[in-house]
């Protein structure tokens, strides 16, 4: 783990976290669902998949893949928001939030793989 890699991951982390804050803040809560987190998770998963399955070599793995995209998406906020729905007794929304995040993010990975194969 070289110092250069660590700094690139950290720089990417700063960018990714700020982008998440800005993007997720623009999306209103829809029908009680925390759609801001859902949106960043789907976008981030699709782009990470595209870059991961790309056969063309590129140098910005630490900055973009681990740093920006790893920090743009979040599991802790997803878990907290899901738990909060359960705590408030909104079980159908709890189930919908989990299902939508899993289904759309995994579909995003699938689509990303296909985009990568076209590049």
């Amino acid at each position: 783990m070289g110092i250069e890699a660590v700094l690139l991951v950290g720089l990417g982390g700063s960018i990714g976290a700020c982008l998440r804050y800005l993007v997720s803040g623009t999306v209103p809560v829809m029908k009680g669902l925390p759609t801001g987190t859902l949106l960043v998770n789907v976008i981030g998963s699709t782009i990470l998949s595209t870059l991961t399955f790309l056969s063309v070599p590129y140098a910005s793995f630490h900055l973009i893949n681990i740093g920006i995209l790893g920090s743009f998406t979040t599991f802790s906020t997803f878990a907290y928001e899901s738990f909060k729905l359960l705590e408030e007794g909104r079980t159908p929304l709890f189930a919908s939030n989990i299902t939508l995040n899993l289904l759309l993010c995994l579909s995003g990975v699938y689509i990303g793989q296909h985009i990568a194969s076209l590049i």
């Binding site: 982390g13 740093g67 920090s71 998406t73 979040t74 738990f83």
Partner: protein, 130 residues
């Protein structure tokens, strides 16, 4: 929100994001993937849960700290994109197991974080003779 306030918020999130991403890299590079991702997701969810419920019950945590360590650090420390790509690559039964264990343990971690804060809240109350 004024421009200087917005800049300050983003600076806090950027600082937390830097540390969060580097910490995730340090943890997940030292364990076999996708176990590293599971570890950061569960630890991050526990700490975020404690932080969010502290805001509700104990009130130690300021709005600034929530932005720096909640949105910045924990947001960057945990990751959904790497989890999704790793799950896809596992495929089949291993993928289902990876989904189940990440979901169960992170949501349990938030619950545990809440329980710890409520325990501290009650202890604080009884210490004051309430």
């Amino acid at each position: 929100m004024t421009l200087p306030e917005r800049t300050q918020d983003l600076a806090s999130i950027a600082f937390g994001g830097f540390l969060g991403a580097v910490s995730r890299y340090a943890v997940s590079a030292s364990t076999i993937s996708p176990n590293g991702t599971l570890v950061v997701n569960v630890v991050g969810s526990l700490l975020l849960g404690m932080m969010m419920y502290d805001y509700d019950y104990l009130g130690h945590i300021s709005q600034r700290t929530r932005l720096t360590f909640g949105t910045g650090f924990m947001g960057a420390f945990t990751t959904f994109s790497t989890f999704a790509v790793e799950t896809y690559n596992l495929g089949g039964t291993s993928a289902i197991f990876n989904i189940g264990i990440n979901l169960a343990l992170t949501i349990l971690a938030v619950f545990l974080g809440r329980a710890i804060i409520i325990y501290l809240f009650r202890r604080k109350g009884s210490a004051h003779g309430n």
